[in-house]
């Protein structure tokens, strides 16, 4: 070792130099303190971890990214994520709309019951209807009893039988609409029993069959919607997995160097995670924004076309065609969810892929 060619300059590294200068932690400490105060005792450690992790992902220091931005397939992925986010928002909006309409239908139906009286040869309808009205009114839980008069019955049958009919010539049943106290409903069985015994041809419809069908329909729609929502999220996850693998393959030389200089796997994963979080946020925001605009346009159209035939048809099905606050809030949540899901998926893929490569190397 003595025969070194020339006396070289002395190596400048300071062996005992401090490894790291103290970090400016005041801002973080303040944030942790404030959040812990809001969330209560015992939350300090969790808040500290969350604040530090979010800062690591969201940090925008001046240092260039270790994984070049251009090497992560950006624009195409943003559009794919945007489409997925749009479909997810649309599904959530549709589920929210159907649920709200079903709930309105249910509440309307559960407030009313109907008595139907079929004409019989021995009874005069003019006598029977007031009799039935008096019979029902005496029960507790009945708010009002209205006899559907001939004109109203005519209008009810118009879509099927046309106009200008004399109902007296036809054996048309007559209806009594009874408004009930939904919170303190009457004894339906007792009403039914007395009605059938007293008035021939009378029957009571408490609409339970309809309510039960509506509930089933609403549940099925919600489940279908949620299944579609989960499928869309699964498709997003798979797309991000493919994109992350592509990005890893394109940056294999960088990952190798990072391993050689002693980078830990979570650090390497975080380099990809940062890119994918922003891609997810951009894509999610784009898709979510389009969905929100679409909801707003439909809501506006619904308001402006009030009274038209098309609107009447739509209103008959969906009530007011507006997704409401929850629809918009859901869209905002979907945007964040897509961004977080994208980041988490890429991180998980990177770590899993590195472990796989590690296994196959040896």
């Amino acid at each position: 070792m003595a025969n070194a060619p020339q006396t070289p300059p002395k190596i400048p590294l300071r062996k005992n130099a401090p490894a790291q200068s103290p970090q400016p932690r005041t801002k973080n400490a303040d944030r942790v303190k404030k959040l812990s105060a809001i969330l209560g005792r015992g939350s300090k450690d969790a808040v500290k971890t969350a604040v530090n992790n979010s800062q690591k992902i969201l940090s925008t220091d001046n240092k260039p990214s270790i994984i070049p931005k251009e090497s992560v397939s950006g624009t195409a992925l943003i559009f794919v994520i945007a489409i997925m986010a749009f479909l997810a928002c649309l599904t959530l909006g549709a589920v929210s709309l159907v649920n709200e309409s079903a709930s309105n239908w249910q509440s309307d139906i559960s407030k009313e019951i109907t008595i139907q009286i079929r004409p019989t040869p021995n009874n005069k309808m003019a006598d029977i209807l007031p009799k039935a009205q008096t019979l029902v009114e005496k029960y507790a839980g009945i708010k009002s009893v209205n006899i559907l008069d001939k004109d109203e019955t005519n209008r009810l049958l118009e879509p099927w039988l046309g106009t200008g009919l004399d109902l007296d010539e036809l054996p048309i049943p007559r209806l009594l609409i009874i408004e009930i106290d939904a919170e303190n409903p009457p004894n339906f069985a007792a009403i039914k029993e007395e009605l059938v015994a007293t008035i021939p041809g009378a029957s009571l419809d408490d609409h339970r069959a309809w309510v039960s069908r509506l509930t089933r329909m609403a549940r099925t729609t919600t489940l279908t919607g949620l299944s579609i929502f989960l499928l869309v999220l699964a498709a997003t996850v798979l797309t991000v997995i493919f994109a992350t693998r592509g990005a890893m393959a394109g940056n294999a030389h960088i990952i190798e160097v990072l391993h050689f200089v002693g980078a830990r796997e979570p650090y390497i994963a975080r380099q990809f995670q940062k890119h994918f979080f922003w891609l997810g946020l951009k894509g999610g925001a784009l898709g979510g924004a389009v969905a929100i605009i679409l909801f707003a346009i439909l809501g506006l159209w619904s308001d402006q076309s009030f009274g038209t035939a098309v609107n009447a048809q739509v209103s008959a099905l969906f009530g007011s065609f507006s997704v409401g606050l929850w629809g918009y809030l859901g869209a905002a949540i979907v945007i964040l969810l897509v961004a977080v899901l994208t980041a988490a998926t890429s991180s998980w893929t990177v770590i899993r892929h590195m472990r796989f490569l590690n296994k196959t190397q040896n």
């Binding site: 070792m1 025969n3 400048p12 590294l13 200068s21 160097v257 002693g262």
Partner: protein, 219 residues
Amino acid sequence: MIQFENVGLRYGMGSEILRDISFHIAPGSFQFLTGPSGAGKTSLLRLMFMSLKPTRGLINVFGKDSATIDRKDIPAIRRRIGIVFQDFRLLDHLTTYENVALPLRVQGKDESSYKTDVQELLDWVGLRDRIHSPPSVLSGGEKQRAAIARALISQPEILLADEPTGNVDPPLAKRLLRLLAELNRSGTSVLIATHDLALMDQFDARRMVLNKGHLQTYG
């Protein structure tokens, strides 16, 4: 520091490319690893660096057995080893300064704590005026010096250099060897893998010769 005992290595179901390798690298030592092309020099370096696992035998690096070490502990071991490749492996989208600072950056250190060290080290390897240049505009010798600076910035206990003079002319090779000798004098163990006999003749150091999978040590 690094100890091999009866180490064998084969890739897949092929024949063993390294057989019964045993040696010890002491702290502060300087050695050359030589042998014909394809003798397994790079594979031996990768074994030392825990980038490969041996098919048989025992490898102990800084007191850790490579067969039983938890993979989470490997980065900590690698931070104590500096490695220089023949093909430099610098990141093209980063400047020379950022490439050299990379090992400290991945450790999560604050830039203010290492900025001066990186600049002084780049001075030492003669790249002060290339501090903001990307590797694509550096010459082969400059790239090699940048790679050496990157390997040294975290003050490793041992430097493994794979053909560090393979892409440079003889005067520059001599200069690089001087740098490595100075590094060794400051207490860092150095192992240079090379098949350049002229280079080895310039420096009196232990020679580890790999031939047909077997290792012989001289000096």
